[in-house]
């Protein structure tokens, strides 16, 4: 479990260039381990999607990766930096090693092609030696795997319900058996019943196929339930990262605490909801120091001036978690 | 494709030994229609109908008073009152299908026109038509004196044996024309019609031009371009600045000849509108119009030949008809004279404004359709000329249909327009002054007299001229007419119609010109056939 597949090192992503640049992701360090589900949460606009797109270089202009490395460890062979790949190599890397499921499934599928075409063209691009017959067979299998009857192969995206489309996307993501699957809010458009069905299937597939997942959502309760580890982003930075249960029970960063105190629980005693005062920061005019300090109930002197570094805190379980907060002095900064 | 059976094989002749003549008209794409009676047919529009069908006599509109040349008829005897004619048909003419041309055919043709009102485009008042032997006798309900040459010279004779079988001669396209002319139809396309010379059976020597190619160009520009690059050798088209645009391209060969005919253009004045009902004003206006400028700037110095005679008759076509008292009397620009005429009549010139005797400033609107550039240019010039005597003129570029209607209904101040043309000055004067077609303002007078010129004297004289039975009576009537025209100025004559041509002597010579005025040059005229028969290869 502890073997890394993807190491993100000091990743910086900007929108725009020079003075107009908006720094949407700043110095993000994150490690995804083999077979785990890494949850990524944070307020709207905190840079979650930007991070996900940025590490596979899928950002549309004016997005640029202004620095950092994304080290990928293939199952066999040497690790390499994804950001250093040539276009051809990157094309080969994509989907075969890292697949992405985006938020809106309706928009993720090309409306004018049958889903069979869209499933098989991945195979055609990555495994050109495969016969068209076996491609189709693979596609049918994948559909079955995600619970869609293979006779829907020739359907167009609009003929499927939202849930089915999302499942097609998941099936498509898994068709090349990648090591990493990134899911950016894959279920926000669906209702809870459908959401649970899909995530249930995904977890089950992960157990069988052994890929790792980066799972992005707003819904902390969902994350806590489904992921192994959770990273919390705020203002383009990772502010805390820990095992899911640890984070849920004893979060260190005031922002994580605020998030956790903001959603009502369905079961158990009614607990008081606190919320987070203030409004999210403007990326163009980031507060100095810790970007959360203007909203932080516990802010003190250093917060306004110095940016806290992400590192293992000085707590008993400090080795398994990291946080960036002046309240929790860092023993060992993450490099 | 196998070149052997292609209709185009060998058509692109080398220009060397000329065998064909290219004729062009700026009339747009044509539809296959060789009906010789219809002005709307391709044959009429391009002029080749006269190469297929022939008239009885060959009349020369450049010298309208000269006797016509015998053609299909060897002679025509008119009764003194011109209500009866006896025509002798030549006996050696044959139709292109080999049948003989007889007096029957001629009588049949006249009968055809008589019985089909739609074909009687000259409104000829036919009476009895009888054929016996080689003569045809035709009687008329009115005197044919003023129409006789046009009638004989511009009625195509058609074969009875073919036309008997045509159900409705007015709506038949006559796609396989059979005529007596020296040419037969070779091919037709909307753009080009090709005629080839008959091999045999023509009643006189076959022309040397073996093939005639009539091309219809879309507009004047295209036609001019074709003329100047040599792809058209003969045409009738208005060429502005023809020296630069056309002649200079090949001064040795490119020529323009534009003889006037008995039909004129000029400024019609509404003689019922004050102050233009005042003869003095009209006279003064006529005196300041700079015809020279109009001729040079609007008509490119050739197109509507200058009318200099005070009688409005062009020269040389009208020379024979000019009354003694006006012989040699020419129009000149005389601003001072005009001012004097005006002053005498009680007009007052205050600086740049002319006031009529009642004290009102004289204003005039000159109108013509907006698209008629030569008329528009003429009006601009006239406007300037009028300013010299203080008349404030504005030029109105009217819509063509509105203009047509307004002119016919007499709703205008002054306008440039043409007159009818014919073999005598009758047509000119009739269009301008005839009281028979005089209508109230607001009622259309399509027959003429747009200026509402009311002169019973002129009406009588016109009728006398048309119906006279002897030359002396005619002379008197004509003199009266001219006197009224000169003194009353019902219209300001400016230029004449021309039936000219732009042509090239590169391949063919023998064209009519000032030294040899045997016929009109316009390829759509009946005597175009005569022109073609005169042509010889240039290098022989």
């Amino acid at each position: 479990m502890s073997e890394p597949v993807l190491e993100i090192k000091n990743l910086n992503v900007d929108y725009g260039l020079g003075d107009q640049a908006v720094h949407a992701v700043r110095d993000v360090n994150l490690t995804l381990h083999r077979g785990e589900v890494l949850g990524l949460a944070g307020e709207s606009g905190s840079g979650k999607s930007t991070l996900a797109y940025g590490l596979t270089r899928l950002l549309a202009p004016p997005g640029v990766v202004s620095g950092g490395q994304v080290i990928y460890h293939p199952e066999k062979g040497d690790a390499y930096d994804v950001l250093g790949l040539s276009d051809k190599e990157l094309q080969a890397f994509r989907w075969a090693e890292t697949a992405i499921v985006f938020q809106g499934a309706m928009n993720s599928l090309n409306p004018v092609h049958k889903i069979s075409t869209q499933l098989t063209d991945v195979l055609a691009a990555h495994e050109p030696q495969m016969s068209s017959h076996s491609r189709t067979a693979r596609a049918r299998e994948m559909l079955k795997l995600v619970g869609i009857s293979p006779d829907r192969m020739d359907a167009y995206p609009h003929q499927l319900s939202g849930g089915m489309r999302q499942r097609v996307m998941i099936g498509m993501a898994l068709i090349l058996q990648p090591q990493v699957v990134i899911m950016d809010e894959p279920t926000t458009a669906l209702d809870v019943v459908m959401q649970r069905q899909i995530l249930g299937q995904l977890i089950e597939l992960r157990e069988r196929l052994g890929f790792s997942v980066i799972f992005i959502t707003h819904d902390l309760s969902l994350l806590v339930e489904f992921s192994n580890r959770i990273a919390i982003m705020y203002g383009g930075r990772i502010v805390e990262e820990a095992q899911a249960s640890t984070l849920y029970r004893e979060s260190l960063h005031p922002y994580s605490a605020g998030l956790l105190g903001s959603f009502p629980a369905l079961r158990g005693p009614r607990r008081e909801l606190t919320g987070i005062p203030g409004s999210p920061p403007d990326l163009k005019g980031m507060p100095t120091g810790c970007s959360f300090h203007p909203r932080c109930p516990k802010a003190f002197d250093p917060c306004a001036d110095n940016i806290p570094v992400l590192g293992n805190p000085d707590t008993p379980d400090g080795a398994t978690r990291t946080v960036a907060c002046w309240l929790h002095p860092v023993k060992q900064p993450v490099s | 494709a196998c070149s052997g059976d292609s209709p185009n094989a060998g058509n692109k002749n080398a220009s060397g030994g000329a065998t064909f003549l290219t004729v062009g008209m700026p009339n747009g794409p044509q539809t296959e229609n060789h009906n010789p009676f219809l002005g709307t047919s391709a044959g009429a529009s391009l002029g080749y109908r006269w190469m297929l069908y022939e008239p009885l006599m060959m009349w020369n509109p450049v010298k309208p008073a000269d006797p016509s040349k015998p053609w299909l008829a060897t002679g025509a005897e008119w009764s003194p009152d011109f209500k009866k004619v006896t025509i002798t048909v030549r006996d050696n003419a044959t139709w292109s299908d080999g049948q003989k041309l007889t007096a029957e055919d001629v009588a049949y043709t006249f009968n055809l026109i008589k019985t089909n009102e739609a074909l009687n485009s000259a409104a000829t008042p036919y009476g009895e038509i009888t054929a016996s032997g080689s003569t045809v006798t035709v009687t008329f309900t009115n005197s044919m004196f003023v129409y006789k040459d046009k009638w004989l010279g511009q009625t195509p004779i058609v074969p009875k044996h073919i036309w008997e079988g045509i159900k409705d001669p007015a709506t038949d396209a006559n796609k396989t024309p059979v005529g007596s002319g020296p040419y037969t139809l070779k091919s037709f396309t909307p753009q080009t019609t090709t005629l080839s010379v008959r091999t045999e059976g023509y009643w006189q020597d076959l022309p040397q031009v073996k093939e005639l190619r009539y091309t219809s160009y879309t507009d004047n520009n295209a036609q001019t371009t074709a003329l100047s690059d040599g792809s058209a050798e003969w045409s009738f088209v208005f060429i502005p600045n023809y020296k630069t645009v056309f002649i200079d391209k090949d001064p040795a060969h490119y020529k323009v000849w534009a003889p006037p005919v008995l039909g004129i253009h000029g400024l019609y004045i509404n003689t019922t509108k004050a102050p233009f009902d005042n003869v003095a004003l009209r006279k003064a206006m006529s005196m300041v119009v700079n015809r020279e400028d109009i001729f040079n700037q609007a008509e490119a110095g050739y197109f509507h030949p200058l009318v200099t005679s005070v009688t409005g008759l062009p020269s040389p076509a009208g020379d024979a008809f000019v009354a003694e008292e006006y012989k040699g009397k020419n129009q000149t620009v005389d601003v001072e004279g005009a001012k004097k005429v005006l002053a005498d009549a009680g007009f007052k010139l205050n600086g740049t404004t002319l006031n009529d005797p009642s004290g009102k400033p004289v204003k005039i609107t000159l109108t013509d359709p907006s698209g008629w550039s030569d008329y528009q240019t003429s009006l601009e010039i006239v406007k300037d000329n009028f300013a010299q005597i203080g008349i404030a003129a504005t030029v109105d570029k009217a819509n063509q249909d509105a203009w047509f209607r307004n002119v016919e209904e007499g709703k205008f101040d002054a306008t440039f327009r043409w007159t009818n043309g014919g073999s005598t000055p009758y047509d000119i004067y009739q269009t301008i002054m005839d009281g028979k077609v005089l209508k109230k303002i607001g009622t259309a007078s399509p027959g003429g007299n747009f200026g509402r010129f009311n002169s019973p004297e002129a009406t009588t004289a016109l009728a006398a001229y048309a119906n006279a039975t002897d030359d002396a009576a005619r002379k008197t009537a004509m003199n009266t007419i001219q006197k009224i025209f000169v003194e009353q100025v019902p219209m300001i004559p400016v230029g004449a119609d021309n039936i000219g041509m732009a042509y090239s002597t590169k391949n063919w010579v023998g064209w009519p010109d000032d030294t040899n005025t045997y016929g009109a040059g316009q390829p759509t005229q009946a005597n175009a056939l005569d022109v073609v028969l005169h042509l010889k290869p240039a290098n022989s």
């Binding site: 596979t56 899928l58 549309a60 276009d87 094309q91 080969a92 994509r94 989907w95 992405i100 985006f102 809106g104 928009n107 993720s108 599928l109 409306p111 004018v112 092609h113 049958k114 063209d121 691009a125 990555h126 167009y156 609009h158 | 070149s3 209709p7 185009n8 094989a9 692109k12 290219t22 044509q30 539809t31 229609n33 219809l38 709307t40 047919s41 009102e117 739609a118 000259a122 007015a170 396209a173 396309t189 909307p190 753009q191 080009t192 090709t194 091309t215 160009y217 879309t218 295209a222 371009t225 100047s228 690059d229 040599g230 359709p369 063509q400 249909d401 209607r405 009818n420 399509p446 027959g447």
Partner: protein, 326 residues
Amino acid sequence: MKFLVQRVLFYLFTAWAAITINFFIPRMIPGDPVKSLLARFQGQMSTDAIDSLYVLFGLDKNASVWSQYIDYWKQLFQGDLGLSFTAFPSPVSEVIGDALPWTVALVGITTIISFFIGTSLGVLAGWRRGSWIDGLLPATTFLSSVPYFWLGLLAIYLLAGPDSFFPSSGGYDGAYVPAWDQYFIPSAIQHSLLPALTILISSVSGWILSMRNMMVTVAAEDYITVAHAKGLSDRRVALSYAARNALLPNVSGFALSLGFIVGGTLLVEIVFSYPGLGFLLFRAVGAKDYPLMQGIFLVITISVLVANLIADIAYLLLDPRTRKEG
């Protein structure tokens, strides 16, 4: 199915309305064919001819407009378009038949070429934003703002001439008769080059622009990012994903312009003396040739409607989403 029935009903209605308007509008023009004929011959046709011409054209009978309208429909249903006045007594169908192939060939082919070139360049410009093709856009904008006829005249002035390869007028060399042979066809092509070039230059930028804008819009769609994420080749993403979707709006524009082929290029035909329908219409209007005008309008209306129908069907084929309703 329902969609089709609805469309067909709609087309029938539009056709009826357009034909009716086309019937009445020419009749609102003052003046008549006879007067126009006189004007055309300025003095060379005597006023004596007026009466015979009225008889000839059948205008001497005073039928009410309403009964003419009824007759017109009766004739239409018999496929009879009447006789043209300008080329009397040729049937309108024959007059149109002579002109139509030229227009369709020249403008049709040019429109298609222009569409393909423009769309392809648009795909490139939109996909490779900032490349040299993008830099071409201002120039094409300028060219598309130039009036057709002016460009044509300039082209004639600069390129055509006695010794030039480009003839300045006509549809083919006057020496030839239209035929499918080695003389005529090259001549026809040669004559069509300059007008075709003019149309091409001034129309292509419209396609480039609209396609480019659609490409830019489509390139921002999620499924394009997904296609990239799938590691498909750039070509495939550009063509099968982006261009395929961006094409949809252009297709209806294309169909619409196909419909306007027939009537829309009057000026090119005038300038180049091309024996087509646009010029014919221009002449018909000038000559008050109602039957011919109606006939041409009918052809235009029908071709626009047919083009629209084709666009609908093309849309149906290209965009599966519209196939939803059985």
